[in-house]
């Protein structure tokens, strides 16, 4: 930058030693300036798209891989149309896949609690609830895409409309989520994932049994499916809100109480 005439004059004055510089005052001024600069030092902020992109990088990829595997296996089963047990219980593979998806979502969101990192995470800029919600949205989006594959294949095979197929897969998904959240809320599942896995297996057995009852998938039963869907959705939303609210304070209180 070009110096102004004024600045050049100042420089000449100091070079000519016409202005005596008190070394002690120079040192004090420097310390003061350093302090002011340190106070005003700004740590750069992350833009919103960058926040989402960064969190995507840290989504639990093992869980998403498990999800993909579920989808591939169920799709592979439907491609082999001649298997006798598929003909007897066509909704079984898709039902199991949706149950496992529901379980995997809750596992993905509980990882901070299970690994003991929740307290540390809660003190950061993004609070625990925001992270849990973001991970649910990211994982849920992937799961919807994964479940669509067996849903389409099964729908074509059974000549069932998209809305009905959506119900047949979403209800077990949400029901499993309700059971898993209930486990989290009682405290058993928070510290260890094994309880959540066990609950998922129980739901898979129940869903598997239901999937072998063809009368449940008759058009006449659609009204029941819609009512169950509405009820389960309401419970899911309430439990999710309770889990996220509990993550905020109560868990910390309980942990602090145990410690003291």
């Amino acid at each position: 930058m070009k110096k102004t005439e004024f600045e050049k004059e100042i420089s000449r004055m100091f070079q000519d030693s016409r202005v005596a510089v008190d070394e002690e005052k120079k040192r004090q001024t420097f310390c003061l300036l350093a302090g002011v600069i340190a106070e005003q030092k700004l740590v750069p902020r992350m833009s919103f798209p960058e926040r989402i992109r960064t969190q995507l990088y840290f989504v639990e990829w093992r869980i998403l891989l498990a999800q993909l595997l579920c989808m591939l296996l169920s799709a592979a089963v439907y491609v082999r149309a001649d298997l006798p047990w598929i003909q007897a219980a066509p909704y079984l593979p898709a039902g199991i896949a949706s149950v496992l998806s529901g379980m995997l979502l809750v596992l993905a969101c509980n990882r901070e609690e299970a690994s003991g990192i929740a307290e540390l995470a809660a003190s950061c800029y993004f609070n625990h609830r925001q992270l849990a919600a973001l991970h649910m949205v990211l994982c849920g989006g992937v799961q919807l895409a994964c479940l669509a594959v067996p849903a389409v294949l099964l729908g074509k095979r059974m000549q069932v409309g998209a809305a009905a197929m959506g119900l047949y897969l979403t209800v077990p998904y949400l029901l499993t989520g309700c059971v898993e959240f209930a486990v989290l809320l009682t405290g058993f599942g928070r510290k260890s994932n094994f309880t959540l896995l066990a609950a998922g297996c129980v739901m898979a057995v129940i869903t598997g049994s239901a999937a072998t009852q063809p009368e449940l998938y008759e058009p006449a039963a659609l009204g029941t499916w819609i009512a169950v869907f509405a009820a389960v959705l309401a419970v899911y939303a309430a439990e999710l809100a309770a889990v996220l609210e509990r993550a905020k304070f109560v868990r910390m209180q309980a942990a602090a109480w145990e410690q003291n």
């Binding site: 750069p44 990882r111 690994s115 307290e119 540390l120 800029y125 109480w257 410690q259 003291n260």
Partner: protein, 295 residues
């Protein structure tokens, strides 16, 4: 410069009061929080970090309630909890990147800062190793590194030197001392010697209450005249142990050298000694217990 203030802070769990009416103000410098197990230190620190809502009183940062400041306050904050959780299969580098993401630090800034902190904590050579292979001391250093990622103006460390060997503790003390010049640092510890050389201010807690507060010279003056050194026989030493607070005890030849906290000379030939921070702490502790016993 920031100011962190608590006003009559109280926290209760069911029937127990973990923190009762604690009030203090912290400014730049290192403040040590001393207290026995169960004194309420961790609960207090969690309230200062906004992790627990107080049942009474408030926590203010520059005059504003931290609950109202929300993310703005957490941007200023660096926290190392006593139980430091981590993802065992993450490497140190990946874990610090994850924490940087939680603290909303842009990638380029975070990468540069992580390099700096790995060097500062002596973990540069172990950056790609999984955390599950780390020793306790190394994990603690990772914890310290993550607490410093966002260059916090308020650093709260709960038992940060737990698991560190003497060399690492010295390194950590020197680091804190240099950092404390232009930020608020609050650290809790059982190791009194960790505070003696670096703390500008001491807070002592017992049963949820603040029992003493002040600079180290002020705290030491509390114990002045109550610290005695004497050399006694083993039989006398056993008797003194039953009736007095013993700060130190060392067998020497056919006698025992003792450092005792007492209002009067505890034994014949006892000479007054200059109090250390640990002596003052024991004196305050014993004083509180005697007052409760008197009630």
């Amino acid at each position: 410069m920031h100011e962190l203030t608590t006003v009559e802070l109280t926290k209760k769990f069911q029937k127990k009061t973990a923190v009762q009416g604690v009030s203090f103000t912290l400014t730049n410098g290192v403040c040590g929080l001393l207290g026995e197990n169960g004194a309420g230190k961790t609960t207090l620190m969690r309230m200062l970090c906004g992790l627990l809502a107080p049942d009474g009183g408030q926590v203010l940062c520059d005059g504003e309630q931290i609950a109202r400041l929300g993310g703005g306050y957490r941007r200023l904050l660096g926290y190392l909890p006593q139980s430091f959780g981590y993802y065992p299969n993450y490497s140190a580098l990946r874990f610090l990147r994850y924490m940087a993401a939680l603290k909303a630090l842009p990638k380029t800034y975070a990468d540069a800062r992580i390099e700096e902190l790995l060097a500062l904590t002596g973990l540069s050579d172990d950056r790609d190793r999984k955390l599950k292979t780390f020793s306790g001391g190394m994990l603690r250093r990772v914890g310290i590194a993550q607490a410093l990622l966002n260059d916090p103006q308020i650093l709260i460390l709960d038992e940060p030197t737990a698991g560190l060997d003497p060399k690492e503790r010295v390194r950590f003390r020197n680091l804190l001392s240099s950092l404390g010049r232009n930020r608020i640092i609050l650290l809790s510890t059982h190791i009194v010697s960790d505070l003696e050389s670096i703390a500008d201010h001491i807070l002592m807690m017992q049963k949820g209450c603040l029992t003493a507060s002040g600079s180290i010279p002020e705290i030491l003056s509390v114990g002045k005249g109550y610290v005695w050194e004497c050399r006694v026989s083993e039989r006398e030493a056993a008797e003194l142990e039953q009736t007095h607070v013993i700060a130190n005890l060392r067998s020497q030849g056919d006698g025992v050298c003792m450092r005792i906290i007492s209002r009067e000379p505890p034994a014949t030939g006892a000479v007054p000694a200059e109090p250390a921070l640990e002596d003052a702490w024991l004196y305050v502790l014993n004083n509180e217990q005697n007052e409760e016993g008197g009630d």
